[in-house]
């Protein structure tokens, strides 16, 4: 693996002149929707140490979004942890994080099983849903659902607002970067693994693995639409959000990742605005990005140092 070649990759992402206005309007439209968060205790999933809740809240365009919330027994305050999901996986109950002392919320943005009564593009499908139109593209609401999940977590009385982290891998890595950017003044620590949706149109040319392969599949049948996809993606590419990030952050990538090409990971890392940032590139790792080679422990220790769950 030629690491210097990966590091020298230059993203083709461009920042549209009205990028900030587009997202300011989207966030304003989301803020105009009352959150209406509900927390229903789930005795079957709770234990002697952790309470589990099924969560719902309203988001962009009024869609009802689901999440799981786990809190340690006791009054708190506890550090908060937002867990954002991968592309195909269903968000699992973050009970083990609560057992470590975090009040943890695991979000299921629109299209995930418990949030798909209105919007259900499927998998494959989400990446391409209305991709030729930036205004109705599926990820517009999806991004807002992740951002609002952070707001729901932050509003919990037992959560210490000065100690909230975000973590996830793959699409969860992308959403970690997104939320850390859009809530830059409120996120206190972030860990993004194998980030997806970075230099997206470039990435599709570097791999045949899904989800990016959805773009290749589409362009094989509709090659003339390439400029439209590029135009949409300049508004959605995580690359354009990360300069806003200010919190301490770690990013891990696999140098042989066939799903999220590592070159795009190097490129997005360079753009992260935080001064306290560290990249962990793992040799001989693919989309696992070192999780089984020690990085799970790195994340645990990083978050414990920044958020002090035992405090």
């Amino acid at each position: 693996m030629n690491v210097s070649k990966l590091q020298s990759f230059q993203s083709s992402v461009r920042r549209p002149p009205d990028f900030d206005r587009f997202w300011d309007q989207t966030i304003a439209a989301t803020d105009a929707v009352p959150v209406n968060a509900s927390f229903e205790h789930v005795p079957m999933r709770s234990t002697g140490e952790v309470d589990v809740f099924e969560v719902h809240y309203d988001s962009y365009e009024g869609l009802r979004i689901a999440a799981w919330y786990c809190a340690p027994k006791g009054k708190g305050p506890f550090p908060g942890m937002l867990v954002v999901p991968g592309y195909v996986s269903e968000p699992m109950i973050p009970k083990s994080l609560a057992a470590q002392g975090y009040a943890a919320l695991s979000a299921a943005p629109r299209g995930k099983l418990r949030s798909n009564s209105v919007f259900n593009p499927g998998y494959p499908g989400l990446l391409m849903h209305n991709i030729t139109d930036r205004d109705t593209y599926g990820y517009r609401g999806f991004y807002m659902d992740a951002m609002r999940a952070f707001d729901v977590l932050q509003a919990r009385p037992e959560v210490d607002r000065s100690r909230i982290g975000v973590q996830g891998s793959s699409q969860g890595g992308a959403l970690t970067l997104l939320v850390s950017a859009l809530r830059a003044d409120r996120v206190n620590a972030a860990s993004a693994g194998a980030p997806y949706l970075c230099s997206t149109m470039d990435a599709a040319t570097m791999t045949h693995s899904y989800p990016y392969q959805e773009i290749n599949d589409y362009l094989r049948l509709h090659p003339a639409d390439q400029p439209k996809l590029k135009a949409t993606w300049d508004y959605y590419d995580i690359h354009n959000f990360v300069p806003r990030i200010r919190c301490p952050i770690i990013v891990n990538i696999g140098l042989n990742d066939d799903v999220c090409p590592p070159a795009t990971g190097f490129a997005v890392f360079r753009e992260i605005g935080s001064k306290d940032k560290k990249l962990y590139p793992y040799e001989d790792c693919a989309h696992d990005a070192g999780t089984g080679a020690g990085h799970a422990g790195v994340v645990r220790e990083f978050m414990a140092a920044k958020l002090e769950p035992g405090k």
Binding site: M44, K95, L113, Y123, N256, D257, Y282, D288
Partner: protein, 284 residues
């Protein structure tokens, strides 16, 4: 683990019930969007146990067959990916969405968490009875295809791949990887705190009086119980922590079984597994 007459009778009944199901012909529809320059993609709908219709991704390489084939047993989760590009270039690949998973979720939509314990205290009602049958129906479809070289068919996946190889001994090689859901599960639960296996702990904490019933059902699904029926060569890929319970699957196959302890580095491990599969399908 149940290996006696109850075990044999249970699975004999599943197979008999599947055979007795009035199975309309599989619907095979070309899906140009999921084709590649070297393979043609299809969506397949197959009738399984109880008349349930399940979907599968199906891919056939261009050129003159018959081709070696891979049955990708479904993992735990709502989504089944289109088969990997690299496999589609070389093999006929069938990736099944079992009942409850997306594309096979009508009338039954699985819940996550929840799928592992749906009906677990009664083996006749356990949803995995139908799921295993779905795998068998899928392999039956694969074996019926003229483009498939029936002497070179592999199964790949977790427990379901091994179980399917036990119930369909025509399968010549089996690659077992990923988290095993049913191998020695009851004895592992005290050490497990993460989902999906945590579903069993949740269930037993809620219904402690059902411990014996749950144990009885899970014993019927322990892949080790199928080892005596497996005729395939097998590679069991597992982490160091999983060797104690995954390893016996390979051990029970004698010379046909091999354990590979993963390095924790995904590229290295995936490459080794694919090479093994290539070798198994080339040499069968």
């Amino acid at each position: 683990m149940t290996q006696g007459s109850d075990f044999a009778s249970y699975w004999q009944t599943v197979d008999r019930d599947l055979a007795g199901t009035r199975r309309s012909a599989a619907v095979v529809e070309e899906t140009p969007l999921r084709s590649t320059e070297n393979s043609t993609g299809y969506g397949v709908t197959i009738t399984s146990l109880g008349g349930y219709r399940v979907f599968a991704w199906y891919s056939v390489p261009h050129g003159d067959g018959p081709f070696p084939a891979v049955f990708q047993a479904p993992g735990y989760g709502s989504v089944v990916h289109v088969p990997p590009y690299e496999r589609r270039q070389k093999y006929v690949v069938l990736a099944l969405c079992h009942r409850g998973q997306r594309r096979s979720d009508s009338p039954y939509a699985a819940r996550y968490p929840g799928l592992l314990t749906d009906g677990v205290d009664d083996p006749e009602k356990y949803v995995w009875r139908g799921i295993v049958a779905d795998c068998l129906a899928a392999v039956d479809f694969l074996m019926s295809r003229k483009e498939v070289d029936r002497k070179r068919v592999a199964a790949a996946g977790n427990d379901l791949a091994f179980i399917t190889a036990g119930l369909r001994p025509q399968i010549g090689s089996v690659l077992v990887s990923g988290e095993l859901l049913f191998r020695d599960t009851v004895n592992r639960l005290a050490r497990v705190h993460d989902y999906p296996l945590e579903e069993f702990n949740d269930y037993l904490r809620t219904y402690p009086d059902r411990q014996a019933a749950v144990g009885g059902t899970l014993g019927l699904y322990d892949p080790l119980g199928f080892a005596g029926r497996v005729r395939a060569r097998a590679l069991v890929s597992c982490g160091a922590g999983g060797k104690s319970y995954a390893g016996p699957l390979a051990g029970a196959l004698g010379r046909n079984g091999q354990v590979r302890v993963t390095t924790g580095r995904g590229f290295t491990d995936q490459t080794a597994e694919e090479r093994w599969l290539d070798g198994a399908l080339a040499g069968a």
